[in-house]
Amino acid sequence: MSALGAFAESSVRMATPLAYAALGELVVERAGIINIGLEGMIIAGAFGALAGTGFAGVAGGLAGAAMSGVLVAGLFAIFVVGLRSDQIITGTAISLLGLGLTGALYQAMYVDAGVIGRTTTMGVWSLPLLRSIPILGPAFFAQPALTWALYAIAPALGWWLYRTPAGLALRAVGERPAAAAAAGISPSRVRTFAILFGGLMGGLSGATLVLAQVGGFAEGMSAGRGFIAIAVVALGRWTPLGVWLAALLFGAASALQFLAQAMGWSVPYQVWLSTPYVLTLLALAGARRRSVAPAALGARATE
């Protein structure tokens, strides 16, 4: 494979876990909640994937990841929606809890017990004709099932958000919860569902790391993806397709380091890693013209 082909392939691969986490976070933010606890949900998903494969292979891993993500999200929802605590502080605590707890569990259940924390990985699905497109073919059409699923999830979310009453309710709650309540919608219920969905997607993001990329678990393997995903949502201007493209851009930036290695460029890899953040700052500065962020984002629940 050419260096460019490898770069394209690794871009899409690096983008997949970001896209899952960010699409979930998009739904959460559209309900007016900023979920700083996403990092904790990803790492919980990763550990859930490891534990689940022990019972039922890849399918068990996926189920375990989804369940773990939802579980951690449920905890976040109890505090933020039920007890109306501050979103930023709760989210930070959830992230730290997720990282710490999975580390301790991994230590106790695998390292100390002498079990090797390895899993099987998902096979690559490829479409015969499309995969022979130069450079982009292998990148987009020869990937694990979790990457393929995104091609359906991103447009489906867009349809759901703009074409269904539920999507409308979600947007209304994120813009003006009092108006949604007056229209007979329960903002608390909408926010709870949004957070649980965010947890599900965060869990699947963790599953991608374990089942489609590494083939095992490592402490702290989420490596800040939860926080990057929040930037991805802003860069994608709070729309599903925008977020998916932004995830690809962040994926490409992470993949630049491999390309740079292959090409023998002697720029420190951190420079490549920082490019998406510079882009995010510019995108946010450019968004000044019209505010696109949900108006009630981060506001403490009052109703």
Binding site: Y162, R163, T164, P165, A166, L168, A169, R171, A172, E175, R176, A178, A179, A180, A181, A182, A183, G184, I185, S186, A295
Partner: protein, 483 residues
């Protein structure tokens, strides 16, 4: 039983907020197919009572019957299902969404699709059926206040509401929009609908309504058909044993010689979208006069007031302004105060940019207290400004802006949402400021009010400004472009 069950029957409603009894055993009956005015001063419990009827608040005691069936509303969704609709004073619309999206919101089931263009077509049909014109695809944030109110009504009507509750619907409307609303209400009632109108405007209520209920301090003190009561009886029910209502002094000053305090020459202002809101406007205000401003929504008065208050810099033309101008914007909660902060903090706020070093809080706390006492803000020792009632917030803002005798004072709808007594108080303060030589500019969407107060009138129409005689008919005609 041959008499049909009342459309809404509230029985023995009590509600306590902390230590205050907001509603004390209130019963309220609205006959089907009538327009019922619910009157009361600020804090009398009108809005609380209707929030309970609409499921937005829970009562401690009492029962709710709609069309003869008892209901227990757990949320507004239950009230909507029972055929109730409410048009709130502060609209419950999502500004970022379109008219159609706001109307559909919460309407269909949670699952299933909706087709934006098909839904817009339904809304367009609804507009035709009801005679309420509004562009289904416009974003609510781009609509004038009157149009936003029509969206609120459409929202309720689209869910087959047979009883509509209006909370101070005309507080934000221009006279023409008010007339349109009232004639719409008559048609709605004639068609078998029922309306509850919460209002301060006594005369309008008495000419429009079939029945009237008066609340005072959480108790129902009068319930009658309008034919059986006269204005004096309603006023005494409203105010209780309090001091008699001051009649506004019709004293006008006619100044042609005073020093010019504020002047604008060939001023042009464009909004953020770049469209011109004022074209080559001239205006002049002298010391010791009240200049009234009138205009229909979006005619340019918003920009003119802000130019005269020094809050907006015109794109072209020149303005001459004094160093110290007081400004009371219409939306006090958003633009004049920070509700969570204390009185003293809010007093310091406008001048914080010019202060250096440590703030002498004890001095300002004393000053805030003195201002509150002087202007009758109750309670004067309140901590956060947000805990004051609307009338007291407005008195406080006015007190702050008048402090230090500014050369000019610009006020925008200063009596919006205030009861008779608080309005009277605010207008009296404005007269007093004029009499001490302040140049006062006042906009009010209540034509009667502005004409009764102003010494001269400027009318905005479509971005231009003309001076008219101080007379309701002349001003009214100028507002719609006739002269």
């Amino acid at each position: 039983m041959t008499v049909p069950a009342p459309a809404l029957h509230l029985r023995g409603i009590s509600k306590r907020f902390g230590s205050t009894l907001a509603l004390d055993d209130v019963s309220f009956t609205v006959a089907s197919g009538t327009l019922h005015a619910l009157l009361g001063e600020n804090g009398a419990g009108k809005t609380t009572l209707m929030r309970i009827a609409f499921g937005l608040a829970r009562c401690d005691h009492g029962s709710i019957e709609v069309d003869g069936t008892e209901h227990h509303f757990h949320s507004s969704a239950d009230a909507i299902a029972a055929g109730l609709g409410m048009v709130h004073q502060h609209f419950m619309l999502v500004p970022a969404l379109t008219v159609t999206e706001n109307i559909v919101l919460g309407d269909c089931g949670f699952f299933g699709g909706f087709h934006p263009s098909r839904a817009a077509e339904r809304v367009r049909q609804l507009c035709e059926e009801t005679g309420l014109g509004v562009d289904p695809l416009a974003r609510v944030s781009e609509l004038a206040v009157g149009a936003q109110q029509r969206v609120e009504i459409l929202k309720a009507v689209s869910r087959n509401a047979r009883l509509l509750i209006f909370d101070e619907p005309t507080a934000v409307l221009t006279p023409r929009e008010t007339d349109e609303l009232y004639s719409w209400l008559r048609v709605f009632v004639r068609g078998g609908g029922t309306v509850v109108l919460i209002t301060h405007k006594l005369r309008e209520a008495l000419t429009l309504a079939d029945d009237v209920t008066v609340l005072r301090r959480g108790r129902s003190v009068l319930q009658s058909t309008v034919h059986a009561v006269d204005e004096a009886q309603v006023v005494s029910a409203l105010l209780g044993e309090g001091p008699a209502l001051r009649t506004p002094s019709p004293v006008r000053v006619n100044r042609t010689t005073g020093d010019t305090v504020l002047s604008a020459t060939s001023v042009t202002v464009a909004d953020t979208q770049g469209s011109e809101r004022l074209h080559g406007v001239n205006a002049l205000v002298r010391a010791g006069e009240i200049v009234g401003i009138a205009g229909v929504e979006g005619a340019g008065q918003w920009e003119l007031l802000r130019v005269l208050a020094g809050r907006v810099t015109p794109q072209s033309g020149s303005v001459r302004l004094p160093a110290h101008i007081g400004f009371v914007p219409e939306d006090r909660l958003r633009d004049a105060i920070i509700p969570e902060m204390t009185l003293a903090e809010n007093v310091v706020l406008p001048r914080a940019g010019g202060l250096h070093g440590r703030i002498a809080w004890s001095t300002y706390a004393e000053k805030a207290r003195a201002l509150a006492l002087d202007h009758g803000v109750r309670p004067p020792d309140a901590r956060a400004v947000g805990t004051l009632s609307g009338g007291n917030q407005q008195k406080f803002v006015l007190a702050r802006e008048l402090e230090g005798s500014p050369e000019a004072l610009v006020v925008e709808n200063p009596t919006r949402g205030l009861d008779i007594r608080a309005s009277d108080d605010v207008l009296e303060r404005l007269r007093a400021a004029r009499d001490t030589g302040c140049a006062v500019v006042m906009y009010s969407s209540d034509l009667e009010e502005i004409v009764s107060l102003a010494d001269r009138m400027l009318v905005c129409f479509n971005g231009t400004v003309i001076e008219t005689p101080v007379d309701t008919a002349c001003v009214g005609r100028a507002m719609i472009g006739l002269s």
